[in-house]
Amino acid sequence: MIELKGVTRRFGEAVAVDNIDLTIETGEVCVLVGSSGCGKSTTLRMINRLLPRTSGEILVDGEDINKADPEALRLNMGYAIQSTGLFPHWTVARNIGVVPTLLKWPAQKRDERVTELLALLGLDPETDARKYPHQLSGGQAQRVGVARALAGDPNILLMDEPFGALDAITRENLQQEMLRIQRQLNKTTVFVTHDIDEALKLASRIAVMDQGRIIQHDTPEAILRRPASAFVENLIGKGDRGLKLLALRTVSDLMERHPEPRYSEPGSDSLNESDSLRIALSMMLWTNTERLAVLDATGAEVGIVNREQLLKVGA
């Protein structure tokens, strides 16, 4: 658990972070969202003491971070940034192994960990491990960046716009991977982004920041349904709020489950359990149907979604 109590950071006269209170529960993903210069990165960098705070308290699991040794503190916090910051003179494997090496893990344990992480991030442990950062694509480099942040098995993960510089498709893929990895590992994560869609997708709770203050700190659904101010309303975009709400839930939440799986005719239009309600609605509009079959991972039909119900949820 990370607690920020009355934290302020000034740069000369300018106030970057203004007396914020924020509690991040263990295992949750807290996304700090806001326009550039709102203090979100500054907040993140105060948590691993890359920036000292001007006043206030930051506690990790009840301990003031200023009491700990800064290096030891950072070794227990994975750190991934937008420009990756991979070491250009080291191979991918050595880059990922940097924290285990600093923690003085035995070589074999470290190598196993590197292989495990390459596989987890969808990289090839054979060929990619020996490459140098400049030989990687932007998406691959960012995967390595995330793998490096996870390598020491830290309790906390700090991510500063890690997918900000990627193209839309690669970003989408990496967001999916993030969700999958988070379900597996359950790290307490602080994630900074200016992209509200990314925030809605990844967050268990979102903190909207503006001019160094936290405007609203709530679940994605609550932020969409009850934006605290005109600023938040503007940020989430009034027009497609309904669709964004639908995007937060999956088909399996809403479907009428069959008592027993059936086998539908192949080729008919259907949804997967993990698809979002937004996709379900889009599909219904496209095929002009009232009901769609839902398939599980094995391809068996496990339920039905109907349009009326779906429209009720969105309201």
């Binding site: 691993n48 890359l50 290096e71 070794l75 910051g85 250009p88 003179h89 140098y132």
Partner: protein, 248 residues
Amino acid sequence: MRLWLTPVIWVAFLCALAALLPAMAPLFSWVEGGTDNLIYTRNSFYTLLQSHIWLVLASATMGTLVAVSAGIFVTRPAGCDFMPLVSQMASIGQTVPPVAVLALAVPAMGFGEKPTLFALILYGLLPILRNTLAGLGGINPAVLDSAKGMGMSSVQVLFKVELPLAGRVILAGIRTSVTINIATAAIGSTIGARTLGDPVIAGLVNGNTAYVLQGAILIGLLALATDSLFEALERTWARAFSARAHKA
């Protein structure tokens, strides 16, 4: 290993010539007829070469130590206040000619090798200092940020990230400094240091072009051999620490 072939050939050529020059008197009689003193004999060329190399080596070692530590110091938070002063000194110092440094050193330190060594160190410092600052300053700030964010201590950041990445540029500075000093050391002969400049000065004073040539050829060869040695060294460094060279 092919990398080291060129410098080895140059060094072999230099040593061979230093040994064979005394036997090449007929060749020099073409240049300087009408005298019997065709070959410089006051000291053997080997002795001169040795003491020339020693002077350059000693000054380069001292200069590198001082310049690299100064460069590191002013790029740390503790020393960053001295940054403008040091980089200014580095550029102003370069405009003072080495002869002037030699002339000023003599009243303070007397004649001989000591003032020469002092002038060489002082003059050789500057290219190294300048390149150390450029090398350390040229590192992508994101790399340093993530190194620190990963939990490296400042010492670890310096030795694992900064110096390997800046190394090639620093090495290039040492290369420039040593090459300049090979030439400058010859001037040391004017204030009594024993170097390959001895035959050149003696030749100029006595109007004997053969002496001048013998000294100049050996100094030139030494500079070439040293330069190709550094070329190989830089490539080896690049291979060990920078990914770019792996492609080539």
